[in-house]
Symmetry: C2
Subunit: 704 residues, 2 copies
């Protein structure tokens, strides 16, 4: 945060590009600073004016007598570079370039953006934008912005900070939050992100004490690895990040490419990011609103047991339906709890979960009973959180409930959420009581369920990250032999070399020998049944040309197989250089997986595992995680696979050694991370999981 | 509708259970009728009063001098039967029983509900309730209701009718709609549904000209079959039904069971219902709001091509992301269209889809340009619908856009939807213009995408239903031989009989013979390879006791196999009666499916098809449709299966005969429908799909 202090808390701001045209970005910025009561110094810059809005107007940034913490640039594109030069001369540490006409506008703009960066780098100046709406610090009334950020409705002060690559869409999220009563700290629209990017700003906001929750909209980042670390740090500290990733489908990515020319990145890897960091994915504007409301109380359920209590049976059913796929259970209440409820719930109600208080229960007359009912329920150890369905409860009933729940929430550690469908103008007083007590009120029971489930997942991931920092050895510091020492400069390793490498990191591989011809002693070296394969870098599709024979059990079969694959290779690819014939163990009785590593330009090495064979094509059944990781993460990956049902033993078949697969994935992830400078790809296909252990039957390591 | 005219448009209403206690349901109803200006006659009934609220008060319903169309009963449960007797004597055609204390409250209540029904049936009286909030006819200001329905905010007149089994939750939907400016015709909360049920009311509302769209919340119905027919009729007529099914998960169903003791029904069958009828499933309150807004214009896209136009690139990306999984495509615009757009879109914008109008474009000054841009886009044949992203556009820009779009919408047949995030109080004028023009305004681009996709699906299903009424022969009238004639009164058919039955309806089956022992001539009758199975009603698990042998190719093998299965049977289940040994063709080279029929108490016969063998357990890969149906529906089922990838030929394998599977499913559906009085279950496991044709290798028909 210190690094960005001059940007976000500037003591003085020069605004270049003010004009009598009130629509000009610079004019909007100055007016917003003044009307919102910014207390620092404002220096309008335009050589044509003596004064602007009653302030002294300067010919250039260099002419300003005092220090300038931040320059806001709203001149047309052609003029931006000169302003930057002048600002550099003045040693201004930060610039916000509102102007468009850069990378997004064609070759000339690309060049201009490069020059802009060169000026900034030379001067040690940092830039937000260009082509952005700018930012506002709502607490300090800094408006280095134009457009919707400066217009009505004004955002209220609060603890949410927003960083968005798309000004228009991102500010739509802010407006929806504002309408729901959520206040803001910083709102930053980053535009082209030539220099300062969303990930860096999220990191800066992590260190801002006034920011409790961060919401971000990004289309892409080339710094996914940093986001992984920042996300984990944020979750560990209990400062949630809500992230909307735009461009997650093919056509979405296409639209994003034409929008800001950002790489959108592979959505699967972002999903791994969410799971590994606790960063909360959002995919709807109202979801951001719901989640921010729910996070405001900073209370998290310890378990997935939820008690549902209220006056609408239908609402309880809808809650149950929405909660089940999210891992929430309408837990069974203890006998004690039910006994206590019996004393305060009418006979025709229900004291099991969902608790039916019966119509009209919420009233001042029932305040003590309600307090007893809620208290007893929260004391039940099976209850991790409580949802109160007010549903259509009217003005006085809602207020009575709010007062009781506010009293209880003051000392309760378990989250309490409320569903109310009464119009907010009617029950405004109750809503104020709820808000003051940090009790989120949601507009449907299903949305309440989703919010509780989010709280539960956040807490769970937080515990895992705190645990992991001890267990998983995320900081791999062991200096292993670099791949280049082992294999020189070749771009990929042979099957034998690849398998040797896997064996060296503890992944069992099939025994193979490369032979030039038949030798009866082979049976002593490799355990039958055998597979025979032609070995040649010039033959890509071995099976198709008859270069593979399987199920060989006798010396006679082996001799014939070796002769045949050699003959077939010579016939079909006469020019091929034949290294020899690979004789391997044939694996039987296991389940075929595919495991591997891909290196993503943004996230670095990512480990992928999936069902192999025909399942690979049918199920597209795979899971991935960013490397490196430990056993719990590897087990979680395997649990995501549909084929884990088979591995765990189906139709009375023996369960297979899932733990061994997890260990192999961990080894792969550590190896890929250590060798990240040198390995582009690892493919193990197939990797068999057996009743005891795993075995890699074929492997390829590609460097790069 | 005529049947329900006295209920929904009563000329006179007796309200029993009025009292000085304003909280009594009866008192609430009378006050609501009076304050809302009901123009018919109100007869308050309470022997203790001379007058109530200035109206003459009667001692009993029978004392009323004029005709009574409707009696509203709000007395405590113990008094309800007497009131019904009195109403029956007066020949009142309809009663709304608001009172609780019936089925939902234990054995005494069950008995009371039975007596209530007996009185009503004897008198030909129909009952809404008991244990319900009642109903309101907003147009005619009929309030036969209490609780939230009678409280502020008052619903506005409109064309949406709501029927709900849960008063509290259902009215929450109404309140959210009302807040979004949606008006209502009828709002009916049905409670216990002892007599009149949701399905019947939906049917009645279909014939109500003032109702354009029906929203329903149900937890269960025992008349799913009627809902199938009503749903199809509604869609064919262009009168959409939005249905929320509560209790779709295990814990949701459990909560529902304890709520109203309704059977919730199998969710899979409801999902089949949605697909087969065009009934629109809703699972969120805001979804109901969005969809109702979108349906109001009665414009539907002819195809999944959407043009997206606006001032926020991020919003377009979010639209694209949400649209893709829903089948919406950001279509390519024709050259013509792009040329026309070039003339009116700034250089730095984009004339391909999504169309980037550039920031600040929406303004009075650009009205003509916008009109040209929208006009050109809508003329493009690839464009089925248009989404305009106003995003954060402010007051004047929104109004300018609204005026242009309203002019165009007046004559356009393609739906236009708008995304705006500006606070509704600010852009109220623009929102009014949009509303008057029937242009839905949605609060996020993703919700706009989901609403357009819903319109597309509705239109598509409507076309299919209209086509189907010609093609699919849904009214099966052919009187086939009842099963009972063929097999007498046994509760299930043997494998041989079952297969014979399938053969008779055109589904190929494997050839089998039951033999007592080996006979060399068998090879002439059944084509090898063969399967040999013990046949005994006393042996459930044939494989486990060595009662099955496969892959028999020689006479010697066959002789030995027959001896072995007989010996194994005798050894393991000495008491079993052995009918003989089944010798069948062994099917090879196909893919194993499971097909069958289950008879649901609510929906009747439902056809299920899924992946067989190990896939059945791993994938849970199955699809179902309510019988009977034709080929297009059967093909749609198969397209839903993950394993359809395999059937269509994977890894260069020959494609299998998917058409033959579809024909078999149609035959099964027709047969199950014809014999619905006699068949409880059909299991074909496995049914092999081959490169040419299908073949049922084992089958079981259970009667009932």
């Amino acid at each position: 945060m210190n690094n960005y202090k001059n940007l976000l808390e500037p003591r003085s701001i020069a605004v270049v590009g003010v004009s009598e045209d009130a629509g000009r970005p610079g004019s909007q910025a100055v007016r917003a600073l003044m009307s919102n009561g910014y207390t620092g110094t404002i220096y309008p810059v335009n050589p044509k004016y003596e004064t602007f809005e009653g302030l002294k107007c300067y010919g250039s940034v260099a002419d300003i007598e005092g220090d300038v913490d931040l320059v806001v640039i709203g001149v047309p594109a052609q003029g931006v570079l000169a302003v930057l030069e002048s600002s550099a001369q003045k040693k201004v540490p930060f610039a916000v370039v509102l102007s468009g006409g850069f990378r997004e506008s064609g070759p000339e703009g690309v060049l201009r953006e490069e020059k802009m960066l060169a000026i900034a780098r030379a001067a040690g100046m940092r830039i937000i934008g260009p082509n952005c709406l700018g930012f506002a610090n709502i607490h300090s009334r800094v408006y280095a912005a134009f457009g919707s950020i400066t217009r009505e409705p004004k955002l209220e002060k609060g603890s949410v900070s927003l960083v968005t690559q798309s000004g228009g869409f991102g500010y739509s999220i802010a407006l929806a939050c504002a309408e729901a009563g959520i206040g803001f700290r910083h709102v930053i629209a980053t535009g082209n992100e030539s220099d300062v990017n969303t990930v860096q700003l999220i990191e800066a906001l992590l260190d801002d004490d006034e920011t409790h929750t961060i919401v971000a909209y990004i289309e892409g980042t080339n710094d996914g690895r940093a986001l992984l670390e920042i996300g984990r740090k944020a979750t560990a500290r209990g400062k949630p990040i809500l992230l909307w990733k735009g461009g997650v489908t093919e056509q979405g990515a296409l639209a994003a490419a034409s929008h800001t020319a950002s790489m959108t990145g592979v959505y699967d890897f972002y999903r791994a990011l969410f799971k590994q960091t606790g960063i909360v994915e959002i995919r709807e504007i109202h979801e951001a609103v719901d989640f921010l409301k729910a996070l405001e109380s900073k209370k998290y359920p310890d378990n997935g047991g939820v008690a549902v209590m209220g006056v609408s049976g239908g609402s309880a059913i809808v809650f149950a339906d929405a909660g089940e796929p999210q891992g929430l259970t309408l837990c069974e209440l203890g006998n004690d709890t039910q006994q206590k409820l019996l004393a305060v719930v009418p006979n025709i109600g229900a004291v099991h979960n969902p608790i039916d208080l019966t119509a009209g229960y919420f009233s001042a007359a029932n305040a003590q009973k309600l307090e007893a009912a809620v208290g007893a329920t929260l004391e039940d150890p099976a209850v991790g959180s409580l949802c109160i369905n007010l549903a259509t409860t009217g003005v006085s009933g809602s207020l009575a409930a709010a007062q009781v729940l506010a009293r209880i929430a003051a000392s309760a550690s378990k989250p309490i959420l409320v569903f109310s469908s009464a119009p907010s103008v009617q029950i405004a007083e109750a809503l104020r009581v709820f808000a003051d007590a940090g009790i989120p009120v949601l507009p449907s029971p299903s949305r309440a369920a989703k919010a509780i489930a989010m709280l539960m997942r956040f807490k769970r991931t937080q515990s895992r990250i705190l645990q992991m920092q001890e267990d998983e050895g995320l900081k791999v510091e062991r200096a292993s032999v670099p791949l280049s020492t082992a294999v020189g400069s070749r771009s990929s390793l042979s099957e034998v070399e690849s398998k040797e490498m896997l064996r060296s990191i503890g992944i069992p591989v099939t025994t193979d020998l490369i032979v030039k011809g038949f030798d009866a002693a082979l049976f002593d070296k490799v355990k039958a049944p055998l597979v025979v394969k032609i070995v040649s870098a010039d033959i890509a599709h071995k099976t198709e040309i008859g270069g593979v024979k399987v199920g060989i059990r006798t010396a006679q079969e082996l001799e014939s197989a070796i002769e045949q694959v050699l003959a077939n290779a010579q016939r079909h690819v006469p020019a091929a250089y034949i290294e020899g014939v690979l004789v391997s163990e044939m694996v039987t009785g296991g389940f075929e997986l595919i495991a591997g590593v891909v290196k993503d330009p943004s996230f670095g090495p990512v480990v992928v595992v999936g069902a192999g064979g025909i399942y690979a094509e049918v199920l597209k059944d795979s899971a991935c995680r960013i490397a490196p990781f430990g056993l719990p993460t590897a087990m979680e990956m395997l649990d995501e696979l549909q084929c884990s049902v088979i591995m765990r033993g189906v139709r009375g078949a023996l369960p297979l050694d899932v733990d061994a697969v997890a260990r192999a994935l961990v080894a792969l992830s550590q190896f890929a991370w250590e060798q990240r400078g040198d390995i582009a790809e690892i493919d193990i296909n197939p990797m068999f999981v057996l009743p005891h252990g795993v075995i890699a039957a074929d492997a390829l390591i590609v460097r790069g």
